[in-house]
């Protein structure tokens, strides 16, 4: 297929999602049609405009005092991890 389907391998690596071959086939087609539709933004005359990152920009930045507060505990952070041993999250050997 075209350029995007070649890139799907690259995209799946970047996104850390392994795609079986059959999924790749239909995802590639669907993504091409969506990207094609999204390309419509190219025709907008917006060179004179600033990018809008957020609709909240009028509210300005928010500052907080740098104070010590009760934070997240080990129990709190680890209770949903798939594998726990001695209060630590277990993962396969890295090195």
């Amino acid at each position: 297929m075209s350029e995007l389907s070649l890139n799907l391998d690259h995209l799946s690596k970047l996104a850390r999602i392994q795609l079986p071959e059959d999924e790749k086939r239909y995802l590639s087609q669907q993504l091409q049609s969506i990207v094609g539709y999204c390309s419509k933004v190219a025709s907008a005359d917006v060179d004179h405009l600033e990018p809008m990152v957020h609709s909240f920009e009028h509210e300005g930045n928010v500052w907080a005092e740098d104070e010590i507060a009760e934070g997240d505990t080990v129990d709190f952070l680890s209770q949903n991890a798939p594998e726990i041993k001695e209060n630590q999250i277990v993962i396969p050997k890295v090195l």
Binding site: S12, L27, I34, D47, N80, A81, P92
Partner: protein, 488 residues
């Protein structure tokens, strides 16, 4: 007690105050209703009856001591399965979070507790709030209470269906591109997306952080105003929650009752693709307002043609970043096939996410990737400003904008699942509102010949929820669409 389940919240409040029934009795009526119909409707992903009845019991005890926390003390509310409620499951309708249990309360849940509401159930949704029909839920497809072969809208599908079907009087959902307003329209109830920043996002699973906003569903505008009051306010745990005072919505909307507002009707929202029965209903609503003495002003919002492209660039870019956290290490699901760390990432995500979530992560990765960033993401951010400016220009001469909520009534299950782009078009009228950060509301304004609800959308200036509530209330006072109930 079965006669209670379709009562508007105003009557439930009075019934509790007058001791016609207790919170436990009221809550049991909804629990019984849920047991009776949810096998067909499939609005609930899970519920904890004992926990809910304890909350109702606690409310009755407060009432007995005259220590009610608010008018809504003792009223049940359903939660989309996206809000953290301490000790309760939170799946976001995804396999990847199937066994997740919330370690803390979202700020909004904390506020519900502080006002004494009784939390009933975890409601179905499209996976990670990505979808318009509930068909992207990893667990079940919710039916439309008006026609079980049809979808209820999405992504807050269960939240809308449960209220419409009398399983709960109030519920909460989230809206990133129309996920409160579209299901409210398709299920024939009221749903409001507040101004971006009105409600803290702390404890709500993130999809697209610059667009996500939580909001209420109810059978009436007053019900929505009351629940909105509970959940709004600034929060130190969300830097994007607005640091500004929250008005008394109900009081303000009632005080606006005799105002004759100027309503903008954008020509571009009545073009190709709009169902003729919906067009006719919206046009008769416009006539109604004209007869009431409102000024109806034709306006242009030409940027609608860019709304869906910009949304699917911005939202997916943010989603690809937000959903990177589901790595097979911290959040419940890890692929049993994974032997190496790389496989923990790649296989857990591949097995844990559904198709639509994968599509959006890949699309977001694409528009942010080297070589495509400027053409897609950079450009979309500029077009987003164009859309924002378009609305702000309109609001110089009108107080609110009136449009259809959805171009079509509830469609049949399976009708759009093979064509994602066709599904995306369901949100054509709602998406710009999120991109511009505005408040938007959908109220019932008619039925098709085949008895499917039709919704009308009102869009307001930032932080002017009371205005659109008041305009909606004016319509509601003189029509009975919101009092009709599905045969289920």
């Amino acid at each position: 007690m079965n006669d209670l389940i379709f009562k508007p919240v105003e009557e439930l409040i009075k019934g509790l105050q007058d001791k016609q029934f207790s919170s436990v009795e009221l809550t049991k009526a909804y629990i019984q209703r849920t047991h009776a119909i949810d096998d067909q409707l499939k609005a609930f992903l899970s519920f904890d009856e004992d926990k809910t009845l304890k909350e109702a019991q606690a409310s009755d005890e407060r009432r007995a001591k005259n220590q009610c926390l608010s008018d809504l003390d003792g009223i049940p509310v359903g939660l989309k399965d996206i809000f953290s409620e301490k000790g309760q499951p939170l799946t976001c309708a995804s396999r990847i979070l199937e066994k997740f249990v919330s370690p803390y309360d979202a700020t909004l849940v904390k506020k519900l507790r502080q006002s004494g509401l009784v939390m009933w159930g975890r409601l179905n949704m499209d996976e990670f709030a990505m979808g318009s029909s509930s068909e992207n839920s990893a667990f079940q497809v919710t039916s439309n209470p008006w026609n079980l072969e049809r979808i209820p809208g999405g992504s807050s599908s269960g939240s809308a269906a449960a209220v419409a079907a009398g399983e709960v009087p109030l519920s909460l959902g989230t809206d990133t591109g129309g996920s409160i307003r579209q299901p409210a329209a398709l299920c024939g109830i009221v749903g409001l997306k507040p101004t971006y920043g009105r409600v803290s996002r702390y404890g709500i699973v993130a999809y697209a952080s610059s667009l996500d906003q939580a909001g209420p569903f109810a059978r009436t505008t007053k019900g929505v105003a009351r629940l909105l009051q509970v959940i709004c306010g600034s929060d130190a745990k969300d830097a994007t929650s607005a640091r500004r005072p929250v008005p008394q919505f109900l009081k303000e909307m009632c005080s606006f009752q005799d105002k004759k507002w100027t309503l903008g009707v954008p020509e571009e929202y009545f073009g190709e693709g709009l169902d003729p029965e919906i067009r006719a209903s919206i046009e008769s609503a416009i006539d109604f307002y004209r007869k009431c003495g409102y000024i109806i002003k034709p306006i242009h919002l030409k940027t609608i043609e860019y709304a869906i492209p910009v949304y699917y660039i911005v939202a997916t870019a943010e989603a690809s970043s937000n959903l990177a956290r589901y790595d097979g290490i911290r959040y419940t699901y890890r692929s049993p096939r994974a032997k190496t760390v790389d496989e923990v990432f790649d296989l857990s995500r591949s097995e844990g996410f559904g198709d639509e979530v994968k599509r959006r992560i890949l699309l977001g990765t694409y528009v942010l990737s080297s070589g495509y960033y400027d053409a897609f993401y950079g450009k979309a951010q500029k077009v987003r400003r164009l859309i924002h400016n378009d609305f702000m220009e309109a609001f110089k001469t009108v107080d609110a904008v009136l449009t259809p909520t959805s171009p079509v009534p509830a469609f049949k299950k399976g009708e759009r699942t093979s064509d994602p782009l066709a599904m995306y078009l369901s949100d054509i009228y709602t998406i710009s509102v999120n991109l511009a950060g505005l408040p938007g509301l959908s109220i019932p304004c008619g039925f098709t010949q085949s008895q499917l609800p039709i919704g009308m959308q009102l869009i307001g200036r930032p932080f002017e929820e009371s205005t659109i509530l008041s305009i909606a209330h004016e319509f509601e006072r003189q029509h009975s669409f919101h009092t009709q109930t599905p045969q289920l």
